[in-house]
């Protein structure tokens, strides 16, 4: 477990180095070459710095960034999953307002410190969610006239 941040640093900087090298490779192989002059310049520096960072991570010489503990990861995961489903699926499939209401209520239920066993706390969450929906509808649908995907309900 003590090696967790070091391994995480190796994985993270490895991904960045992979991206850097891919960008560099694409910059030098794509045509027309004139369109890639600036990307070549940037991607060369990108790749060099990314490999340098990866090397430092492998040697265990990374000084900044404390990674993610298992505890933090377990706390983040439910919220992150709700966020991913909300943004990448439900916002479009169910409509912005419906999905925002559901996501807001679920996030509140997941992270609100109030006890889950009390009816009062559930009523409070429902009221806060309704207030949030009313403000968002007022701001975006009525004030800014933004036409968002509606799909079901509104």
């Amino acid at each position: 477990m003590a090696d967790l941040p070091r391994n995480q640093h190796i994985i993270a900087s490895g991904i960045v180095a992979g991206v850097g090298m891919s960008v560099c490779y694409l910059s030098y192989t794509q045509q027309p070459a004139e369109a890639f002059t600036f990307p070549r310049l940037i991607s060369t520096v990108f790749a060099v710095l990314a490999i340098w960072t990866f090397g430092k991570a492998i040697l265990g010489k990374t000084k900044v960034g404390n990674g993610l503990s298992m505890e933090a990861m377990s706390r983040i995961t439910p919220g992150l999953l709700v966020m991913l489903v909300y943004i990448f699926w439900s916002a479009k499939a169910l409509g912005f307002y419906t999905s925002s209401t559901i996501a807001f209520f679920v996030l509140l239920s997941l992270y609100d410190p109030a006890p889950h066993g009390e009816i009062k706390s559930w009523i409070k969450r429902a009221l806060i969610t309704a207030g949030f929906l009313a403000i968002m509808y007022g701001l975006f649908a009525m004030l800014l006239n933004v036409y968002t995907p509606r799909e079901i309900f509104f």
Binding site: Q8, A12, V16, G20, V23, L26, Q30, P32, E34, A35, F36, T37, F38, P39, L41, I42, S43, V45, F46, L49, A50, W52, T53, K56, T62, K63, V64, G65, N66, G67, L68, A72, R75, I76, P78, G79, L80, M83, L84, I87, F88, A91, K92, F96, S100, A103, F104, L107, L110, Y111, D112, P113, F132, M136, L139, F140, L144, V146, Y147, T148
Partner: protein, 508 residues
């Protein structure tokens, strides 16, 4: 004195109303721990689409000014700085509040913020037109180096690791090249239909600044982390005004240091506040009282962090080079109205430029007046559970990024960049240089291509980009900023263990 001609424009009902909304809203947002001034301004941008350029900038400028000042409320009453710029305020401000002088500390902070802020905006008023005229002499090679300087200086000075800061800047510059090439029309790095038109700056800014904050709030879990708010008793304002006048040395030091630091790109309000606090302590005959609830500590720190707001916009308004992440967000607010900073702004849109700058001047005074009354309310807002804050910010980020072009692609870009940035931040990368790279990338590339064409027709690339006093000066500053940061990092490494670095990061 051209600015005086446009003073009346600030007082039209709509403009003044927006100034009030931005100021009061900014004070409340600033007092909320976890909502940084940059994120607050980024989330406000979608609300400026329907407004005229000057009106949009008034709203964003007022929010910027007052979020920095509002951060003092939670620093004093909760011992949680609302923004990094308020870290130094916590040292004496919270101790004053614990001793029953919370109201006095708040009044001192708002009065000194306003005085420092007014001085900073005056500097912006008198320096900007002169520098904008001077910037006319800049050719493509100079503008290319300036854009690179903007990225490297923030990458090296604003990050805990120089290499990772510069790497973040490179990622931003690369992201800016995604889409169609302007000259050849060639596709570059289009790996998903969502980025076929390139990466839109506004959704990217919202994602990079808002989503990592949301996930950070998730990481706190279900713990009730709301801190105890110290009660504020009534205190005559005149006593605090007299105290600020009596402590004019601390006020002068804070204002001078904040103004100078604000002019240097990449060195933010956090440094301004801490350096001013340190210098005020050194020059004070009562230096032993610092840290025990001494008014000079609050005055110096708050005067400094607001004095830097005006000067921090000088590089943006004259050279199109944002000197800070918040200035980069303001640049985004200008660009959506098709206005480019520099001499064009002052020659072709003087009404926009001067109304915006004048509104910042009036905003400082409004911030002082309302700050004293809103402080109590703002402190209560600071106790809003992080679960509610996270859900609200996530909703605003989704709606805000969609409303830019009514495109789900922008929403996907916002979320992908935001989630990616959260994980990168855990490993020492930072959002500020990435954002600067994303914003300055097109400026750097356009001037690089234009310069290359001139160079090919004349002396060649090397002599065009690498010779001339201004080119060499800019290259020297780029190298000096990197070398200085590496030297500082090595010097710090001698005294700082890995654990210290982790603790320092967590504290920030």
């Amino acid at each position: 004195m051209e600015f005086l001609l446009y003073f009346g424009d600030v007082f039209t009902p709509v403009n003044f109303g927006l100034l009030l909304i931005g100021t009061i809203g900014g004070l409340i947002l600033g007092a909320t721990p976890g909502l940084s001034p940059t994120m607050a301004v980024a989330l406000l941008i979608p609300f400026t689409f329907k407004l005229e350029a000057a009106q949009g900038l008034i709203l964003l400028g007022a929010a910027y000014t007052s979020t920095v000042a509002g951060g003092a409320v939670s620093a004093i009453l909760l011992k949680i700085p609302g923004a990094p710029a308020n870290i130094a305020t916590t040292l004496d401000g919270h101790t004053m509040a614990q001793k029953g002088e919370g109201a006095k500390a708040l009044q001192l902070s708002f009065i000194s913020s306003a005085i420092g802020g007014v001085f900073g905006v005056m500097l912006l008023i008198f320096l900007t037109p002169v520098l904008a005229k001077w910037a006319l002499a800049f050719g493509p090679s100079h503008l290319f180096w300036l854009a690179i300087l903007g990225v490297t200086i923030i990458g090296s000075l604003d990050s805990s690791s120089v290499v990772k800061g510069l790497l973040s800047g490179c990622i931003g510059l690369w992201l800016a090249t995604i889409g169609f090439d302007d000259i050849m029309g060639a596709q570059r790095f289009i790996f998903h239909p969502a980025v076929s038109g390139g990466i839109n700056v506004i959704p990217a800014l919202i994602g990079l600044f808002a989503i990592p904050q949301v996930i950070t709030m998730f990481a706190k879990g279900r713990n009730d982390t709301s801190a105890e708010v110290i009660e504020v008793k009534k205190q005559p304002v005149m006593d605090s005004i007299r105290e600020v006048i009596k402590r004019k040395r601390a006020l002068g030091i804070g204002t001078a240091i904040g103004s100078v630091i604000g002019l240097i790109p990449g060195v933010g309000g956090q440094i301004a506040g801490l350096v001013a606090y340190d210098q005020a302590k050194k020059f004070s005959p009562e230096r032993d009282k610092f840290g025990t609830g001494h008014s000079e500590g609050v005055i110096a720190a708050e005067a400094a962090n607001n004095a830097m707001v005006g000067p921090s916009l000088v590089p943006l308004l004259t050279l199109s080079i944002p000197g800070s992440p918040t200035a980069a967000v303001l640049l985004g607010g200008l660009l959506i109205h098709g206005i480019f900073p520099g001499s064009d702004l002052f020659d072709n849109h003087p009404d926009v430029a001067w109304t915006f700058i004048n509104s910042m001047l009036i905003g400082q005074i409004l911030m002082c007046i309302f700050g004293l009354y809103v402080a109590g309310l703002a402190a209560s807002v600071a106790r809003v559970p992080h679960s509610v804050m996270a859900a609200v910010v996530l909703g605003l980020a989704l709606f805000g990024s969609y409303s830019v072009q009514n495109s789900m692609g922008d929403v996907y870009v916002m979320a992908s960049l935001g989630i990616g940035m959260y994980f990168l931040e855990r490993f020492g990368f930072s959002a500020a240089p990435l954002v600067l790279g994303l914003i300055l990338g097109p400026i750097a590339e356009a001037n690089f291509v234009q310069g290359s064409m001139i160079a090919n027709a004349t002396n060649g690339l090397g002599p065009y980009f690498m010779t001339g006093t201004l080119n060499l000066t800019l290259i020297a500053v780029v190298i000096a900023s990197i070398v200085y940061s590496i030297w500082m990092e090595l010097r710090q490494a001698r005294y700082t263990t890995k654990d210290d670095a982790v603790h320092k990061e967590e504290a920030l």
